[in-house]
Amino acid sequence: MTLSRRRVLMLAAGAAAIPALQLFPGSSFAAAEDVAKMMADFSGGKEPQTGKITLTAPEIAENGNTVPISVDVDSAMDGADMVDAVMILADGNPRPEVATFHFTAMSGSAAATTRMRLARTQNVIALARMADGSVYMDKKEVKVTIGGCGG
């Protein structure tokens, strides 16, 4: 059987349709500018340093609806060595903001765990703002998989 040129083109179009179908039609995701603006607002324009804050997130999220994440900031939470707040952002969600934890002298430690939603594979960013205004950052890429079944 000889393939007409038309047949070949149609076959190719069919094959190309598959990756296209996997795009999320009609939805928009956070612009990088939104993420940058939120980080700047939170840090008062200060450039975040690495260190002090550890963000724990799974490498692969079994389901994007419920992804456990933890933050832990190395701080005595006493006197001048205090964490004011920790902000969590997701740079690939429709909107980047996730949660902001507020700590006090009564917190005992600047550590918290919660569960978040991730629309797709992306970076989760954790920013810690210390009482003295310094800002620290940690970032983890979380792969969000598409299950095979059960919708």
């Binding site: 598959i18 389901n63 059960g150």
Partner: protein, 286 residues
């Protein structure tokens, strides 16, 4: 003519993708599960005549974070439904002014081990009866209340509560009751029958491809010991017949009605396939 080529191209692409993914195989993890100090039987020798040597809980096929969420009965969001069920247990409903507690008292005592022995034979209806239908029967006959609509939030919560009283107890169906054996036969037949546009049988995924990945889902043996289950997917409780229907929908087949003869036969058979596994309700799954 062109539509066929388009479809052929699409199918070719899907086939190639499917082949690439289908090759991946993952062993279930080697881990133990204890909930509130109760050891769970998550792997055990299969009963005679079972296609597998060992029956494995779906818990073993999930990622570490998912498994951890089930281990802690405080962190397990399914326990919210169990607590709701406990409330319903105490709530008077129906014309006879009774609650479940009026007859069954403390569920931790009266319902202990009960959920692990269902489905049973209902001599009145001459068909198998599961926990949901037993609750309905009690409500109608003993409380003068209405049967729940399928998947009513209260039905799911109360079923989860009752099943949870059997946490840890190994599942076992007594096939000698009534005609349960005949329903088991029918269920087995259904389990191995390919249906739907995707031409899958339950066995296609849960037996022939157990341990493989379907896209990113790690295929388990498709056991029922954890239902109603808290699923991350829907961030809510999922009942067994809801899941049966969902699986069948995903093979692009017509979905049988919940509690239909088909699904009751399937429940009898699939419960048997997990004989010996602890009731994990409310299990946590993806």
């Amino acid at each position: 003519m062109d539509r066929i080529s388009l479809a052929a191209g699409t199918a070719l692409c899907l086939l190639l993708t499917g082949l690439a993914v289908g090759k991946a195989f993952g062993d279930p993890v080697d881990d133990t599960l204890e909930i509130d100090g109760v050891p769970m039987i998550i792997r055990t020798a299969a009963p005679d005549g079972h296609p597998f040597d060992e029956v494995l809980s779906g818990w073993l096929f999930r990622e570490a974070e998912t498994r951890a969420t089930q281990e802690d009965s405080f962190e397990n969001p399914g326990m919210l439904a169990v607590e709701r069920g406990a409330e319903i247990w105490e709530t008077v409903d129906g014309t006879m002014g009774k609650s479940c507690a009026s007859c069954h008292d403390d569920a931790a005592v009266s319902m202990k081990g009960v959920g692990a022995a269902y489905p049973k034979w209902d001599a009145d209806a001459k068909r198998p009866i599961n926990v949901e239908l037993q609750i309905d029967k009690c409500r109608v006959e003993n409380m003068g209340a209405e049967a729940y609509k399928f998947d009513d939030a209260d039905q799911v919560a109360l079923t989860a509560f009752v099943k949870h009283q059997s946490l840890g107890t190994p599942m076992s169906v007594d096939l000698s009751q009534g005609d349960l054996q005949a329903w088991w036969d029918k269920g087995k037949d259904l389990y191995y029958t390919r249906t739907g546009q995707l031409d899958f049988a339950c066995a296609s995924c849960h037996e022939a491809s157990m341990g493989k990945y379907i896209r990113a889902d790690h295929l388990s043996q498709g056991q029922v010991n954890g239902f109603p289950t808290y699923r991350f997917n829907t961030a809510g409780m999922v009942s067994l017949h809801n899941r049966f229907r969902g699986c069948i929908r995903d093979t692009r087949a017509e979905m049988p009605k919940a509690f239909s003869d088909e699904l009751m036969a399937l429940e009898v058979y699939v419960t048997w396939r997990g004989t010996g596994l602890s009731v994990e309700t409310p299990a946590v799954r993806q």
